[in-house]
């Protein structure tokens, strides 16, 4: 089904504004997506109508809030095609989800001399938690190399796998370059060596249909704010049999069965991993974001985004002195680029003057930028509400950058 983009734009009130006297062009969707009215309204009606602490209150508001909170968990389960809602843990974001696995699974099951594999494409949030674990545990972090197009070299990955490999933690879609990794192949090869796989799905979840059972992923991490949902909320999917063997990561309320000063027993899944009062309002509103995506249809969203990507690749590619960084065969709607002789920061400043929001810098992937031999890029990332006219505006904007800075 062909989506009516102008109608969709009306669902996102933030898009109707001018920046520096120009119509806003929001191309920083890989950093965070904008929020549709249904999500904003859900937050408002929660606070106005049924704000209460969940799970223990027996009064009406608490029951209503608890039901709404758990309704989102069911929706996330369906969104990822997890087997049960016990496999869906709410966290504060992808970073928090990865830290949960590093601290809980890592602390218990990874020992000195064991190896953890990550790829060159990783965001700092999928590098640093493992470095911290390795520092404490004496395990070894190994890096899967990429080719110049920004694709994981599978043969090199296979060479790194061994019985010592305990965990492979890779990004599904690169935030800096848009590369879609062959995640199913990566998972199967890891499993052949008995290693578990964590997938950083922060960028993938808004573009690609995720089926954790078909992928056979052991863990899958994502952030709500990249899915038109609220900030400060994430999800960790984990296979039930794995989560059951893992110790809690944070202690506190909500995650206990019984506490005495001598001994505490822990709650069942998923609450074991949800200490303290959770981010109730944002969880409740997140359901509306997921429903919004389901209503548009992920296939329809992807079709529009792919058209935008193809159009932008052609238009930007025709600009003299512009090089697109990241030319993987399988890509989502992200274009990273550099302009000959011009620092990415200067590109960002001049585009901003024209109302165009892109991200510039290293995109929290400094090792990747070092591999590519560049200080950073300018990155335009598209979402369902973006238009071809906006890409034309970007092209005009880039030409202005060239005129001013060459």
């Amino acid at each position: 089904m062909k989506l009516d983009i102008n109608k969709i734009r009306q669902d996102f009130p933030i898009l109707e504004q001018s920046i520096n006297g120009k119509k806003l062009v929001y191309f920083d969707n890989a950093a965070t997506t904008q929020k549709p009215t249904v999500v904003i309204e859900a937050l408002k009606s929660y606070y106005e109508g049924y704000n209460a602490n969940i799970h223990r209150g027996i009064h009406h508001l608490a029951e209503k809030a608890t039901a709404a909170f758990e309704e989102t968990r069911k929706t996330v389960r369906a969104f990822l095609n997890a087997k049960t809602t016990e496999e869906i843990i709410f966290t504060y974001g992808t970073t928090d989800s990865i830290n949960l696995v590093a601290n809980s699974y890592g602390q218990k099951f990874i020992s000195e001399g064991d190896e953890i594999l990550i790829s060159t494409l990783e965001h700092h949030s999928n590098i640093v938690p493992w470095q911290m674990l390795c520092e404490g545990k004496g395990c070894i972090l190994k890096i899967i190399p990429i080719n110049d197009a920004g694709e994981i070299i599978l043969e090199e990955y296979e060479k790194l796998l061994s019985p010592k490999t305990k965990l492979v933690s890779v990004v599904h879609v690169s935030n800096a370059l848009g590369t879609i990794n062959p995640i199913k192949t990566i998972i199967d090869k890891a499993h052949a060596f008995g290693a578990k796989v964590l997938v950083d799905g922060a960028q993938a979840c808004s573009h690609i249909d995720i089926d954790v059972q078909a992928l056979d992923a052991d863990f899958y991490a994502l952030s709500a704010h990249k899915l038109f949902g609220p900030t400060g909320l994430g999800v960790l999917y984990g296979k039930k049999e794995l989560l059951e063997t893992m110790p809690p990561y944070r202690g506190g309320g909500e995650m206990i069965k019984e506490v005495t000063f001598e001994k505490t027993t822990y709650a069942d899944l998923p609450y074991k991993f949800e200490a303290g009062t959770p981010n109730i309002a944002d969880v409740v509103a997140f359901k509306f974001a997921l429903d919004y995506i389901q209503n548009l249809g992920k296939t329809n969203i992807a079709a529009h985004e792919n058209e935008l990507l193809a159009y932008a690749t052609e238009k930007l590619g025709a600009i003299e002195g512009l090089t697109i960084i990241g030319t993987a065969k399988e890509k989502v709607s992200v274009i990273s680029f550099i302009l000959e002789g011009i620092h990415p920061q200067d590109i960002g400043i001049i585009l901003d003057q024209q109302g165009i929001a892109v991200r510039t810098g290293h995109h929290c992937t400094q090792p990747l930028m070092q591999r590519l031999g560049i200080p950073g890029t300018a990155r335009a990332s598209f979402s369902v509400y973006n238009t071809f006219e906006e890409i034309d505006a970007l092209v005009v904007g880039i030409l202005k950058v060239k005129k001013l800075l060459s």
Partner: protein, 141 residues
């Protein structure tokens, strides 16, 4: 000229641009191009200002009771802004630098034109210049 006179001079130059963002940025870019590059020997890790998106270097020396600043950046617009800060703060006594109230950045509309993160980079640079001044103040007679 005093620090405030130098600031007022910059403010006056920018009054020409008012709503003309292109003119304003052309001017800043030009200032960036005019700033002579910092000698490679001073482009050290220690001289890098933290908190900037592009690499910014600042070098300082104390001569005849005055602090001399030199700076550079990889990005040309930032380099232009660095040039302005150098114009205003170099060749003054440590006490003058420490007491300086830098109102020109706000007056020429760059705090509003540059996003928070980048202004913070500039703020780090000013802080570093004042830290140098503080260190040199102990040498003042």
């Amino acid at each position: 000229m005093s620090i405030n006179e130098l600031q007022d001079e910059i403010i006056e130059e920018f009054e020409l641009f008012e709503e003309d963002w292109e003119g304003k940025y052309e001017y800043i870019i030009d200032l960036g191009k005019k700033l002579s590059p910092l000698a490679e020997e001073f482009k050290t890790e220690d001289n890098i200002i933290k908190g900037c998106q592009s690499v910014v270097w600042l070098n300082a020396k104390y001569e005849n009771g005055l602090v001399i600043f030199e700076g550079d950046s990889q990005a040309i617009i930032v380099k232009g802004l660095v040039n302005m800060l150098l114009k205003v703060l170099t060749n003054h006594t440590p006490t003058e630098i420490l007491n300086a109230d830098l109102y020109f950045i706000d007056k020429i509309g760059l705090t509003s034109h540059l996003a928070q993160t980048r202004s913070n980079g500039l703020a780090s640079m000013v802080k570093q210049m004042k830290t140098y001044a503080l260190a040199y103040q102990s040498l003042e007679k």
